[in-house]
Amino acid sequence: MATKKFMYLNRRSSFGTVYAIESLEVVLIAAAFEQDVSLAFMDDGVYQIVEGQETDGIGMKNFSKTFHALGDYDINKLYVSKESLEERGLSESDLMPLVYEDEDDDWEEKPSVKVVTNDELKAIMSEQDVCLSF
């Protein structure tokens, strides 16, 4: 089967609507298809990977831990909009320390999250074959 570049664009926060969790469900299924997968987080989507989410008080499933599993599925390109973080008073240190093991570099643990400007994100998006927006 052909390999294409798939990007999953996340623009909404974890809770309030179902988009975030159902996007993650697509990403996990997509992992089985051995495509070149990347994720982008912009607008309120940056809240999805903020560290220390706690959902006990709202009766919703805390699926944020699932992001830590992405590295094991060879999904290790998570781009975060710098402008979207700044607009919300957030910085990279507020995000979950998501990592993957690089098989080409003696399985060294490396960060999956990369903060990029919207201009850089635009260039990355234009390289994609398929872009799914959630």
Binding site: M1, Y19, I29, A30, A32, F33, V130, L132, F134
Partner: protein
């Protein structure tokens, strides 16, 4: 060109499904192929055969059914995501009986399947067009 379409919103509350339908219809009329339409999120509600809009309004579900999008085996290629559907009470006969529920509401022009069908459509088609908000 070979198109796949993803519909992320339900009927009537949002126009996304209407726009997607108009796009699919125009594509077919202009000689393009609609390989598959995949209904996700609240988009699964576009497949309810119990949908009864007032007579002077468009019928979103029947509009989709009228496109008669099928594969070579004659199966519908209006595909409803199983996880999203079950969560929202959209059931075909098989899912209803598996879960000991009487009755089912999936329109026969649609079929229920997994998210893999969305990814496969993305791989197979020249373009995957997402309709939502």
């Amino acid at each position: 060109m070979k198109f796949a379409i993803q519909v992320n919103e339900g009927p009537y509350q949002h126009q996304a499904s209407d726009t997607a339908f108009q796009f699919a219809k125009a594509a077919i009329e202009n000689g393009h192929e609609i390989f598959r339409v995949f209904f996700y999120h609240d988009g699964v509600n576009n497949a309810s055969r119990f949908t009864l809009p007032p007579q002077d309004d468009r019928h979103v579900v029947n509009n989709w059914a009228s496109l008669d999008i099928k594969n070579a085996e004659g199966e519908p290629e209006l595909v409803v995501c199983v996880a999203a559907a079950l969560r929202r009470g959209m059931l075909d006969e098989s899912e209803a009986s598996k879960n000991s529920i009487e009755g089912n509401n999936l329109h026969p022009a649609f079929r229920i399947s997994g998210l893999g069908q969305l990814i496969e459509a993305g791989i197979q088609c020249d373009r995957l067009v997402v309709f939502g908000d």
